[in-house]
């Protein structure tokens, strides 16, 4: 599980995103990846063998964290995509 750093940090407004139907608490400005990891969701997709796969590079290079924005159907990299209140994400896409 990811641990939000508390010392010296003031975050944006509390928001909620929905990942695979589960509501996850997040803060304005966080990436989808951060909201997922902080909620203990390390799995961003399954590979062709059905094995769970996580985020790897966290800088937009490897595309391991591709998830789907449900409303638009867009596949986006969770490490670069800002979480927006009410945003719905699917990891099976």
């Amino acid at each position: 599980m990811g641990m939000r750093i508390e010392a010296d940090v003031t975050r944006g407004n509390a928001i909620t995103i929905i990942v695979d139907g589960e509501a996850l608490p997040a803060f304005a400005g966080e990436t989808v990846a951060t909201a997922m990891l902080a909620a203990g969701r390390q799995v961003f997709r399954a590979d062709t063998g059905g094995k769970p796969r996580g985020l790897y590079c966290n800088m937009g290079t490897c595309s391991e964290c591709l998830v789907t924005i449900v409303a638009s159907g867009r596949r986006v990299r969770a490490c670069l995509t800002e979480a927006v209140d009410g945003m719905e994400i699917a990891t099976r896409g």
């Binding site: 010296d8 944006g12 796969r53 996580g54 790897y56 800088m59 591709l66």
Partner: protein, 455 residues
Amino acid sequence: MADTFDVVIIGGGPAGQAAALALALAGHGLAIAVIDEPPRPGGQILRQPPAPFAVSNWLPGRSYDGLKAQLARFEALEGISWLGGHSAIGLVREADGLVVQASGQDGLRRLVARRVLVAAGCQDLAVPLPGWTLPGVYAAGGIQAFIKSQQIVPGERVLLAGTHPLMLLIGAQIVAAGGTLAGVLFAQPRQTMIANALRHATAAAAHAGNLAAAASAMKVLAGAGVAVRFDTALTAAIGNSQVEGARTAAGDIACNAIGLCYGFVPQSTLPRMAGARVQTAGPAGGWATVADGWGQSSVPGLFVAGETTGVAGAPAAMAAGEMAGIGIAHSLGLIDASEAQHRAGPARRRHARLLGFARMLDAVADPTGYLPAPTPDTLACRCEDVDFATIDQAIATGGSANAVKLATRCGMGACQGRNCEPTLLRRMATAGRTDDTGFTQRFPARPVAIGDLAD
């Protein structure tokens, strides 16, 4: 939608910022666009917290001070079109200039420019080992980026393993963030690191500050009771559905996140796509774009700076970016040759000095001979799930990297081969084939919606 600029800079890190600042100084009214993927400038070295965050005492330490001062100057610069949240996915020379395709939330933008500077930085060398596709195995730079920007430590017990001394700094940052380290493992013996440093003793003496930073990081780690081990190779990540531990030469270590830190390779997709000449980069692999002393590549109008020309660190990138900005200004006729030489003098001298340190670091961090051994079922290509048995079989038939890609799909996935190309080329070199030029770089450099391409 087409936008026309005098200069498009790809990368908002130290090199891109320095170039923009030098250009702004040389020519008022220049139309300059700077593109980067994060919403805010800074690059990976200064990956900024999100705008709604306030972080006091962000990235303390003298090594960041000069970089932060430049970032502040860049952010105060007026008249720059900042295209944060955009990925440069294509770069080609056409009749009307250099064309950059930029992909953002609202679709594609076609940017036409008289000059383009690629200052796209580097990436962690992707290091396949048994279990490396388990959730919880990260590129160490990715862990560091979480701490710098998102203010999160992605794991309750983090193990850092590899050959690069950057692990000491990342480890100290994890400790400072209140995180817990399971250990820092250097695969190479301490004596080897020292001997390699001593071969570059002059550079070491000239950069005592960097060595002091490493020593102070060691002190932080010791204070937190973190074991820093040498001659201790990571051999596998273990776990069922996520990382539960690490198999190492010193036995199994419990952890739920592993950061792999064996060095860095230039982001070379765009210059190669545009046809620029490249050469093999440092000991970690990858391709460095060849450039003259002003950053001009072999493609007319296409300039490169910073890690794109070979990984040498952020201060060197800053100096190279300034030289490229001045070089571009000269090539546009804004300043004459002697003025360009004069302006670039200090940056050029700084750059030469910093390169000495970079070569020392290359030698100390050299992963050659210390990379973990994959098993036949270890995935070489994470995107297309291609294992080592499969690529070895294809290599044995004698084909090129492109042929292996066609035969196995290794390199055909969403990362466009950025992770697996160094792996494949190392594997081919082991089989005696050292002259392969790697995958042909194709559009798009980053994943993009088909609908955006059709619009």
